[in-house]
């Protein structure tokens, strides 16, 4: 492993990744011109994770660290995934109660209400 005297990599590696990051960012930006929908969301997330992955793996050298460190850093954010998932359910439920019990006006982007379309 190279980690003993720090991280020694050829400069070309960095230039490649640098270029790729520009391309991926451009792709990410281009999704703004698409119509809303599942495809757009998927692309946003894919570009986001690809870009984040390159930064963490190459620029932050995580790919070249030993597995002990990699797993110690990548496992704990799993609880964040749980938090995000549950909070999404929760916020949707809160929103629904506001519509149902408080008669809040529904913004058009949120129509149709869940369970009402045929």
């Amino acid at each position: 492993m190279s980690s003993e005297v720090g991280q020694q990599h050829p400069l070309t590696l960095y230039f490649w990744i640098w270029g790729l990051l520009f391309v991926v960012s451009a792709g990410s930006y281009a999704t703004d011109y698409m119509d809303a929908g599942l495809l757009r969301w998927a692309l946003i997330l894919i570009f986001m994770f690809v870009k984040a992955g390159y930064i963490v793996a190459i620029f932050m050298h995580l790919k070249y660290e030993r597995l002990a460190l990699i797993y110690a850093l990548l496992l704990p954010p799993g609880v964040i995934v749980l938090l995000v998932g549950l909070m999404y359910m929760e916020s949707d439920y809160t929103w629904l109660t506001r519509i149902v019990f408080f008669g809040a006006e529904v913004s058009p982007e949120r129509l149709p209400l869940p369970g009402t379309h045929h």
Binding site: Y14, W18, Y29, F47, M48, F59, M87, E90, E109
Partner: protein
């Protein structure tokens, strides 16, 4: 001793995890104290930003009012044509550029090329400062259009709250990073780290790349959603 015997049987793959975690002295082999500490700090900071973004998602989904269209709000008019998210895109590319220069600084640091490392650190700090400047411009523009933390002309008041809070907290990180870069670069050129491997450049770099990393998520979730 047991360790010497262990070192002779080379292990690979997942088994290295067990080996490293069951060894003495250090768990993360070859990782200097400062770098280990920075990684763990960044893990903690990841939780801070994740929770900011989770809170943003929750209030956005909870509120019954319409959410302003970020694509329109953050558009700039160029030659009479509104270009959506133009400034944000420039900021994104600026931050990537700074990440690239930082990566070069780290590389030159480990090559013991002090002069180039310091130079690229200053360049990184410059791009960081430009980013903060553009953010200040963006804030000014939105404030002049009537966006406040508690209200805005287009819809749910939480839009402004989340915008100022999240970009503000990220901007603080960038500003702190610029200061951190300048301080460390000065110390390097004064010869304070001459007896080390210059892992300090990598530690500083970890922080800087993290700031870029956070922006990737903010860009996707705040500006593109």
């Amino acid at each position: 001793m047991a360790q010497a015997a262990q070192a002779e049987t080379e292990v690979t793959g997942l088994a290295t995890i067990a080996k490293d975690w069951s060894s003495d002295v250090t768990t993360f082999k070859g990782v200097p104290w400062g770098k280990a500490m920075m990684w763990i700090f960044l893990l903690s900071d990841t939780f801070i930003f994740s929770i900011f973004l989770t809170a943003y998602m929750t209030v956005r989904t909870t509120t019954a009012e319409a959410w302003p269209n970020a694509s329109e709000v953050f558009s700039l008019t160029m030659f009479g044509v509104p270009v959506p998210l133009l400034l944000i895109a420039i900021m994104t590319f600026d931050l990537i550029t700074s990440s690239g220069t930082m990566a070069l600084a780290v590389n030159y640091g480990y090559r013991r090329d002090k002069r180039r490392a310091v130079r690229f650190m200053y360049l990184t700090a410059f791009f960081g400062a430009v980013f903060v400047g553009m953010q200040a411009f963006e804030w000014t523009k939105l404030i002049s259009e009537g966006v406040r933390p508690f209200e805005n002309p287009w819809g749910a008041p939480q839009f402004g709250s989340c915008f100022f809070m999240i970009t503000g907290f990220h901007g603080l990180h960038v500003s702190a990073g610029v200061a951190y870069l300048i301080i460390i670069a000065r110390r390097i050129s004064k010869g304070r780290y001459d007896n080390t491997n210059f892992e300090i450049v990598e530690i500083t770099g970890l922080y800087w790349h993290f700031v870029d990393l956070v922006w990737v998520f903010i860009f996707a979730f705040f500006y593109l959603w």
